[in-house]
Symmetry: C2
């Protein structure tokens, strides 16, 4: 039976960045409270959460008090230390589950999982040594990308290799971290599917969005993506298979390359996703509320879209618009470091346009 | 010059109920923080605000500290004690201004203000004594409604009089409070216009919504209202005149009776309004963000509506829907007292329907 949390219940969220902030706001709409666990002082989510615990992830006492104060636990990022999870999952339900986290925390585990499901991924090889990298380069060829197996995000922990002679420089750039060499995919476009699965096993997907990156960071997501009906169907079915295979509960971001040979899964993120921010102004129930609904045992929204949307990230000191016709979402961060995500804007237009 | 508050600024809000809660959420989208001042413990807005001060309105020291911690002050209800306002307005800007509050705190002042603008109001007479009521009944006739001049809301502080013989009972029911006798208006429908005015003097109105009450409390607001184009235009122009006359900054709710003889102003509320909750799921920029934008010196949204909406209030222990196609908004209140507003639901449909 599903544990359907009533209003007044408390959702514990690991991580207090912008995703935790927008999850907190969504929870408030459902009459639910949030408690943020975050190592850093003054997290963006703290401004809108009912409660904040500031403590490192190895503070088991703080984790225990946090767990005791909440009804269910979720997270806004996938790199939660294993020991913290071991401790928490004995105390309260955690959604999405451990299997989902394990499959996304390590690029090799993730690719093996996806391949075992019969899905296509880019050619890859495990790299632990410089000799291993040199051998892998023979198989994969150039251009290719060397990525750390764990803890990569927004293009961090990645080095592009255009020539075999760059092997040693690239290997050193990752400081000896366990890595994976990925072949370059000659894709037409990158899209992502924001998919959700409830505790009852129902799956709902938003329309795929088309992503454009700049300097390794998402720049825009445009909905609808330029996909034919077969590609749209494939994308949604594929996402559903991933969620069902993981017995997943919550929202997942599934990044896909669209190629002449079909869809290739780039990566999966077991959480609300930057490429789903358009849902805030394009759908009645956005990805943040969808995630909270799933985690709280509520039925999902159906993902229906009422507008076309172009989402643009505001990075570093990007100017933002105070215009009338833009859905503006700022994250309440104090300092605009270069490359730091400060907010995003959603421009909407009627579907009929 | 307009004082345009940058992200990171703090909006002080007097009152921590559901309106303050939804104002806080809207402020967070713009990267602004909120500080709630509220006499009651654990206010609904406290769950999503950056800071809460719990103190009575006659605690001048607490008011002073509150004012010192914020950049601008606004409020979620019109019945703020005069002495508190006197103290606060020497310390920080307050929007909407004192004139707007004075015009809405007292039904006689409000009606005189509206009449002086050349707008139609229901026939009314000031009532201070039983003899005065009996005289007024001769002029106004029955049926009519005796209302306290101040502090009425949601049908409270009102007695309907169907027969002159009920005068004494009605007068006693209000415990001798200064009152106004209002003639019954034979209206076809009640609509309200949610209007906003910026610090630059620009005015933006949302489409009028049609209101249905139950037991003196708003039950539904339906957008679009059943109005012909001339009525729609009149409603918007009339609202604009009120805001301009008050040099108003922020969102105002203007309740109108639609009669065969034209529009009659029922009452004005110098704040975000229950009949504007549909904007949360019908517009890119909702009434709460619109109010925060005005108060913070930002340009307004244009009020454009992208869906038809039916808003239904959830009162007392009304069941709410967890359905996929309803925008649910619960207020985080613990106890569902009879008549207490616990939340609302927005059902949307395409404009083309």
């Amino acid at each position: 039976m599903v544990d359907l949390l009533p209003p007044g219940s408390i959702i514990g969220i690991l991580g207090g960045g912008q995703l935790g902030r927008m999850l907190s706001v969504a929870a408030s709409r459902l009459g639910l409270k949030t408690h943020i666990f975050e190592p850093n002082q003054n997290p963006p989510a703290g401004q809108v959460a009912d409660k904040v615990t500031t403590a490192p992830y190895d503070d088991l006492a703080a984790l225990g008090q946090f767990a005791a104060s909440v009804d269910v636990i979720t997270y806004e990022f996938e790199n939660i230390p294993t020991a913290a999870l071991d401790h928490l999952e004995n105390l309260r339900p955690i959604h999405p589950n451990r299997k989902a986290l394990a499959s996304s925390q390590d690029r090799i585990v993730e690719k093996n999982f996806l391949q075992n499901l019969g899905l296509n991924v880019a050619p890859f090889a495990q790299v632990d040594t410089l000799a291993g990298l040199q051998a892998a380069l023979q198989t994969i060829g150039t251009p290719c990308i060397l990525k750390t197996r764990r803890f990569g995000y927004d293009g961090k922990g990645q080095v592009r290799i255009d020539d075999i002679a760059e092997a040693s420089t690239a290997f050193n750039a990752l400081n000896g971290a366990p890595a994976v060499l990925e072949g370059f995919v000659n894709f037409e476009r990158e899209v992502s599917v924001i998919a959700a699965r409830s505790q009852n096993g129902e799956v709902a997907c938003y329309d795929p969005g088309e992503n454009v990156h700049r300097s390794g960071i998402l720049h825009t997501t445009t909905v609808p993506a330029q996909l034919n009906l077969a590609q749209q169907t494939d994308a949604v079915i594929l996402a559903g298979r991933i969620l069902n295979a993981l017995d997943y509960v919550g929202v997942m971001g599934v990044e896909l390359f669209v190629t002449k040979q079909g869809l290739i899964v780039n990566e999966i993120a077991p959480r609300v996703h930057n490429s789903g921010h358009w849902t805030q102004n394009g759908c009645l129930i956005d990805q943040f509320e969808q995630h909270i609904r799933a985690v709280a045992g509520w039925p999902l929204g159906d993902g229906q879209r009422h507008c076309n949307v172009v989402m643009t990230n505001l990075i570093g000191d990007d100017a933002y618009s105070r215009d009338a016709n833009i859905g503006l979402h700022l994250y309440g961060k104090d300092i605009a470091k270069p490359g730091r995500k400060m907010g995003h804007e959603n421009r909407i237009s009627p579907i009929s346009d």
